[in-house]
């Protein structure tokens, strides 16, 4: 059904509906505004424009008229933009503004504080979500609200219905198996090189200023030791003028860690508007095998020729891995001879796989003590498949008929219950007996050899 735009008069009383219009509206990170064009009626500013039953709407702040085309474009703040246009000041004699209690009650308190209750209404019913939050000093009300709810693993919902614009909190949803290249088109960005040197400047003046250099290594670990030089080094200036050395290191570390989570996605979705800013989402490109997990940072809603479409911008990845596609799986079970390109450590092998150390997931346990001379094990879990690698540091020899236990599968999985299967790149046979993964190679495994396994669990 074609979207219908409702307009009000300046007193915010519904005045009519518009069916022929074009809209470009965004909210979330960075922008919370709209541009809507329609030939009639003529508005004078201050009116509300919205689509019933959605969070798409706001107030007209600017009007642009083209003498060349007779087009009239109405520009304004979305509901979210109204919040973003308010600054949360700390109370008198207090350093911070704080809220605690039920999330919906806290939303109501904030709306009252910033003076938006005439147009925005907090849901009176309890959200069942408890918050206890200290707002950043002088943050805007929208960012503050999102952070407050995020601290309680919740998201902000807004909807215009029955003549009111209602705000409430809902638990954050994790979206899986929907943002998949098999079912929709999207652009997925994988940031390979990200800033890895943060030059932090704190309190003091000129040469007396506190300066701290923080570095990230190739695995994303932040320290004060530089490991990347020359063209590999990407530096960023971080200004925190009233921070002492301790605070500068603390906040600078967080800042640099955020840079390490590079990558994101733009998803364009028709007829799907029920994902919300702040929801967690897993985006999977089955061609490259790249999978990122992040949060929805922004929604961009467009209406043209009677069709409403929604773009979702997914923020920096909180987790990233390869292995979503068949080609990637094939690559994963290929042994990395002698640690690949010279790598002889777990971190080195991990880098060869395009993974960061922090992104390895211990999907199940490996009995490293049960196999001789095992150096390191690397894991990652992709859906129902767990990949792991054993990097030997010394030659492994097997007596005739001998077996080695190299791992255990999670409780509940076994061949006679929910079955799982194991594949092994080593020259031999691996199988699962009970909960134990066993290996009986026909010959030896040389030292400094990565052996790749994949274990598939049947749900």
């Amino acid at each position: 059904m074609e979207p219908v735009l409702i307009y009000t008069d300046a007193a915010h009383v519904d005045a009519g509906a518009i069916q022929t219009f074009e809209m470009d509206l965004a909210f979330g990170a960075d922008e919370q505004n709209f541009e809507i064009a329609f030939p009639a009626p003529t508005l004078s500013g201050g009116e509300l424009l919205y689509i019933d039953g959605t969070e798409y709407g706001g107030i007209v702040d600017e009007i642009t008229r083209s003498t060349e085309t007779d087009d009239v474009i109405y520009i304004g703040r979305t509901w979210h933009g109204m919040l973003a246009g308010k600054i949360v000041k700390p109370p008198t004699n207090a350093d911070y503004y704080t809220l605690s209690g039920d999330a919906n009650t806290c939303i109501a308190s904030l709306l009252t504080k910033v003076g938006l209750t005439d147009v925005l209404t907090a849901r009176s019913m309890s959200a069942g979500i408890s918050v206890n939050y200290q707002f950043d000093r002088f943050c805007n009300a929208y960012d503050g609200l999102l952070k407050m709810l995020s601290s309680a693993n919740a998201v902000l919902r807004i909807e215009r219905h029955d003549g009111i614009t209602e705000l409430w909190a809902e638990p954050r949803v994790t979206i899986t198996d929907e943002a998949d290249s098999d079912v929709m088109d999207f652009a997925l960005t994988d940031s390979i090189r990200v800033p890895n040197h943060l030059v932090c400047a704190g309190e003091g003046e000129l040469q007396e200023r506190v300066v701290v250099d923080l570095y990230a290594d190739t695995a994303g670990n932040v320290s004060q030791t530089q490991t990347q030089f020359g063209v590999d080094e990407i530096a960023v200036y971080y200004n925190y003028s009233n921070a002492d050395r301790e605070k500068l290191i603390e906040d600078g570390t967080k800042e640099l860690q955020e840079y390490q989570q590079g990558g994101g996605a733009d998803l364009q979705v028709n007829n799907k508007g029920d994902w919300h800013v702040g929801d967690s989402i897993q985006v999977r490109d089955n061609n490259s095998g790249l999978v990122i997990t992040s949060t929805i940072a922004k929604k961009i809603v467009k209406v043209k020729n009677g069709v409403l479409s929604v773009d979702y911008e997914v923020g920096n990845a909180s987790a990233k891995s390869y292995g979503g596609g068949a080609s990637a799986e094939t690559a994963l079970v290929t042994p990395i001879a002698n640690g690949g390109t010279g790598a002889t450590t777990a971190a080195g092998a991990l880098d060869n796989l395009g993974l960061a150390r922090s992104q390895a997931t211990t999907g199940f346990t490996i009995n490293s003590t049960n196999i001789n001379a095992v150096g390191n094990q690397l894991f990652r879990k992709q859906g129902n498949v767990v990949f792991f690698y054993v990097l030997t540091t010394t030659k492994i020899s097997f007596a005739a008929g001998a077996t080695k236990e190299i791992g255990t599968v999670p409780s509940g999985y076994a061949m006679n219950t929910r079955p799982c299967y194991v594949n092994c790149s080593a020259p031999g046979v691996a199988w699962i007996e009970g909960q134990t993964i066993k290996l009986n190679p026909s010959n030896t495994i040389n030292a400094n050899t990565s052996v790749a396994f994949s274990v598939c669990f049947i749900s």
């Binding site: 059904m1 030939p39 019933d52 039953g53 088109d185 479409s309």
Partner: protein, 275 residues
């Protein structure tokens, strides 16, 4: 095209484009249909029927051509589209944007008209009347010959409507006064306007234009859009402009007022079987 008429949007008399003094022939392009679409990998992502232009050849005598030019140009200048009517009942709003004369002969001319068809489809309004319980002859329940303070009757009435098309239809509702906050439930959706319709007045809800207007007994028309209950919008169960679904929908009302329930049936082309 058999029986094509242009009803001006702004003013003036209608013009028969097929009649004793004018002729449009088959007008193939007006009889054709087209979707604007986006294809996905294995699916149709979007499909809409936006406004489009068609070309038809028009033959007319000078008087008819003059009349058509005046009303058509006035509509374009005023941005008030006229309405093309095919087979006397199938309508589509449009403009006549150009005339390219290619023959003049014995008091008649032949010209190519460029027509903008705005609605993407042809439509007709179908209505059914529902009487109030107090209307004479409408009662199917006990009505005593003497004037008791009240009649024994059901507190709700039911009926049904069945649009002849296979797609949902925009609603058209006329409520005759007196009525206070009248509502009708059709196919599970409650159509309600929180307004008092005085005796002699009537209320029109037009789901095609998305308007709600109250006409008083003296003819004064008031925009009461804000009084229409829209709930959470389409599909929410209380949306005043909810489309009437295809198939048979049950109609429930309290019987305290009379009303006409209409629906706009849409076809991509004027039905051939009526030609």
């Amino acid at each position: 095209m058999n029986q094509l008429e242009y009803l001006p949007g702004i003013a003036g008399q209608s013009v028969q484009l097929d009649g004793p003094s004018a002729f449009v022939g088959i007008a193939e392009e007006m009889r054709s249909r087209e979707w604007d679409y986006d294809l996905g990998y294995r699916d149709l992502v979007t499909a809409t029927r936006p406004a489009r232009t068609v070309d038809v050849t028009f033959h007319a005598d000078y008087d008819t051509a003059d009349t058509l030019r005046r009303v058509a140009d006035a509509d374009v200048m005023a941005r008030t589209p006229g309405t093309f009517v095919a087979q006397k009942e199938w309508k589509q709003r449009g403009y006549i944007l150009a005339s390219d004369v290619d023959d003049i002969h014995y008091g008649r001319l032949s010209t190519g008209l460029k027509i903008a068809l705005l609605d993407g489809a042809w439509w007709r309004l179908v209505k059914r009347s529902f009487m109030s319980s107090g209307s004479s002859g409408s009662d199917t329940y006990l009505d005593y010959p003497h004037d008791y303070p009240y009649d024994y009757q059901e507190t709700s009435y039911t009926g049904g409507v069945t649009p002849s098309v296979l797609t949902p239809s925009d609603v058209y509702l006329v409520v005759y006064g007196p009525a206070v906050n009248p509502y009708v439930i059709v196919g599970g959706n409650r159509y309600q306007v929180n307004v008092t319709v005085p005796a002699g007045g009537y209320l029109i809800v037009d789901g095609r234009d998305k308007t709600i207007n109250l006409t008083l007994a003296d003819g004064t028309v008031q925009n009461v859009f804000s009084s229409g209950v829209r709930g959470g919008g389409a599909g929410g169960g209380s949306y005043i402009f909810e489309r009437i679904p295809a198939g048979t929908s049950e109609v429930t009302y309290d019987g305290s007022f009379g009303f006409d329930l209409g629906w706009y049936e849409e076809e991509g082309e004027p039905p051939w079987s009526l030609s």
